[in-house]
């Protein structure tokens, strides 16, 4: 209601002494209860197309990868609001320029999954959408994405075409839901000039605990006192997760009933980052994304950030930019996500065929997408010679085999990014120096309850 903004008027005047008829009120209440009861039991008609979700029969199989015969316009949504956005726009323009019967309208959405949810309610879902690998279980349960097993067959995709971790997670409850487009591991960026000034070799970025701390020290001494990460999920959170994986950490137990990120690996990772702060090598409070401008304007000599920032950083630093795998401080391992292409609920058979055609085209032309900083998911694209010539990406791509993802159940990413999740605990340690074990324990205990609830709700 709009009125809460300006506050309200005064309270009730002296009430009229006449007792009004209570009948009116009773009628109102009864009507409301009636409405509520009807509401609760039936399907809504305000909802989106199709009843979707588990249990319903899958849509008609599509038999071919050719574009449909009549004109089809597809709505395509992506969450690429960062510097990688324009690359996808160019790809889509290229696709449209080929003049087939399929035209694609691209819309970039911030707060992507909330938008999808609202759109699903309003019946306005796009036809094709990007879906993160770790969101596949949840979006499937919410009736937003549909199985595309037939597309997978047509593309003759197999596990060997991708990394195993990615391939396994495109499946939920026996159905395939996504075609992997890319893998985006956390990336380590450094300023070559800064390295030289600090006496470090710009061609040999740090790759162990000692080297990393030494590099931080050297850069600090040379005046590069800016942050390496920001106190935020997409920076400190991802670095912690990488270190966590390197230490052998697991998010949950095998049947997804207990959160285990408060293990030794988790504590060790948080403590390592905190130690850097305690040694004066890193500021304790860094606002969201502040490591990016710091790196761009030269006060930071090295940062960790997503690979999607590559184009922005390359534009800013030019040849001075070094980009590569995250240093293996405790061993092998790096956080990664993966964008997949999915077909949404409520799509007609013809639109589905058009969507399959589009998806096939995009994944085959993913080399272009690689320029945005996204490592193509398909092995054959990565092995292509054209790919090898793109600056930086092949180096970043070296970590693909060490990439780890969230476990595959609905809501898994929340363990990391959700309210009260691991990142909050880690940032708390960084910003205020709390005890990592205790904070991670509290967080994990709470999430153990949450994932048990989730498991029961979705029955897996």
């Amino acid at each position: 209601m709009a009125e809460h903004l300006w506050g309200r008027g005064r309270g009730p005047e002296r009430r009229s002494r006449r007792a009004g008829s209570p009948a009116a009120l009773v009628v109102v209440v009864l009507l409301a209860l009636l409405l509520a009861a009807c509401r609760g039991g039936t399907d809504t008609d305000g909802g989106g197309g199709g009843g979707g979700g588990g249990g319903e029969s899958p849509p008609t199989q599509v038999e071919t990868l050719d574009p449909p015969e009549s004109e089809v316009t597809l709505e395509f949504w992506t969450p690429f609001t960062g510097p990688d956005g324009p690359f996808m726009e160019r790809l889509v323009d290229e696709f449209n320029a080929e003049g087939t019967t399929v035209t694609v309208n691209l819309t970039t959405q911030a707060e992507y999954y909330q938008k999808l949810s609202t759109a699903a309610q309003a019946g306005n879902l796009p036809h094709v959408g990007v879906v993160h690998l770790d969101q596949i279980p949840q979006q499937s349960e919410d009736g937003i994405i549909t199985p595309i097993g037939d597309l997978v067959d047509l593309l003759e995709l197999e596990g060997g075409d991708f990394t195993e971790a990615v391939w396994n997670n495109t499946e939920w409850k026996g159905e395939r839901y996504g075609v992997p487009l890319d893998i985006h591991p956390l990336t380590f960026y450094w300023n070559r000039e800064a390295f030289e000034e600090a006496g470090l070799d710009p061609d040999a970025p740090p790759n162990s605990e000692e080297e990393f701390v030494a590099a931080a020290q050297a850069l600090n001494d040379a005046g590069y006192t800016g942050p390496i990460w920001s106190n935020h999920g997409f920076s400190a959170g991802l670095l912690w997760a990488s270190l966590f994986y390197q230490g052998g950490g697991e998010w949950t137990n095998d049947d997804y009933t207990e959160a285990t990120y408060n293990s030794e690996a988790g504590v060790q990772a948080a403590q390592f980052m905190r130690d850097l702060v305690d040694q004066g090598l890193h500021p304790s409070g860094v606002e969201v994304d502040a490591e990016l401008p710091a790196f761009l304007e030269g006060s930071s000599g090295m940062i960790v950030a997503g690979p999607w920032q590559l184009s922005r950083l390359a534009e800013g630093l030019g040849d001075n930019l070094g980009a590569g795998p995250v240093p293996q401080i405790f061993g092998e391992g790096v956080w990664a996500g993966s964008h997949n292409l999915a077909v949404m609920e409520g799509v007609s058979d013809e639109e589905r065929q058009a969507a399959y055609y589009f998806i096939d085209w995009i994944t085959r032309n993913a080399t272009e997408w690689a320029r945005a900083g996204q490592v193509p998911a398909r092995a054959e694209v990565r092995e292509d010679s054209a790919f090898a010539e793109i600056p930086h990406i092949p180096t970043i791509a070296e970590q693909v085999d060490a990439a780890q993802f969230y476990p595959a159940f609905p809501g898994a990413p929340e363990l990391h990014f959700g309210a009260g999740g691991a990142t909050e605990a880690v940032v708390s340690v960084l910003a205020e120096g709390g005890d990592p074990q205790q904070l991670l324990d509290e967080s994990a205990q709470r999430f153990t309850q949450i994932i048990q609830e989730t498991k029961e709700r979705y029955d897996y």
Partner: protein, 294 residues
Amino acid sequence: MTATPSERPATATAVRRERRSLVSPGMIALYAVLVLIALFFVVPLAWMVSTSLKTESAVFTDKSFIPANPTFDNYARILTASGSTPVFRWLMNSVIVSTLGTVLTVVLTSLSAYAFARIDFPGRGLLFGLLIATLLLPAVMFLVPQFILVDILGLLNTYPGFILPGLAGVFGVFFMRQFFLGIPVELEEAAYVDGANRFKTFISVVLPLSGPALATLAVISFLAYWNDYLWPLIICEGAGCTLPAGLRNFQGAYTAQFGLLMAGATLAAIPVLVLYVFAQRWIVQSVTSAGIKG
């Protein structure tokens, strides 16, 4: 119905005293303080505009208020942007929602208020009490079910969806009723004697007398709709958002690119500030009288 300031001093001595005191040390000190305070209010806005005229790197390196190399690039980028930040659409949506919402609020609540003020009908006390009681309740408790309701009605991301929940607000009814109670009944009685029914009386006698109050209600409603944030944020999507909710999306899309962010904020602030410059006397008086009467 503004509380009229008693501006005329009581005695001639006082008049002389006031005039003389304009250049006294006391007055100078007062002006100094007032100017300092004014700076507190103005400087952030100046900083906002200043940042919007800087390039991304200049934002951090050029610390002065006047950019060394001012550029309109940020504005250009926003205004010609792709799907995700259509600022003009947001602005249009806000204008339409606020205007429609205000007109409807004024009309509906006046009608309702008139009946509560003038006609004694069965259930009046109870209904009015019910309406007023809801003023006690925090708006947030309605967010969830209103969202579900708007969804059922198919009004997500639509103008009616933005307008209707606010239209249910009770402040207008209360406020106009107060005002109507203050109008001498004799005037309406006279119209009745001449053969006018309630509605005719309302239109031809009461409303013309209600100018200031209606204007006040209109200003308050307009500002409330214009600045409504949380509710549109919940139900809007993409280009359908109103300006404040759209800005929030803006924040997500352009993190840490403060030149762009400030350009967006400036674009959002300008229409209101321009309106304010022209209408400030009126707006200030409206809010004051609403507050005093409320």
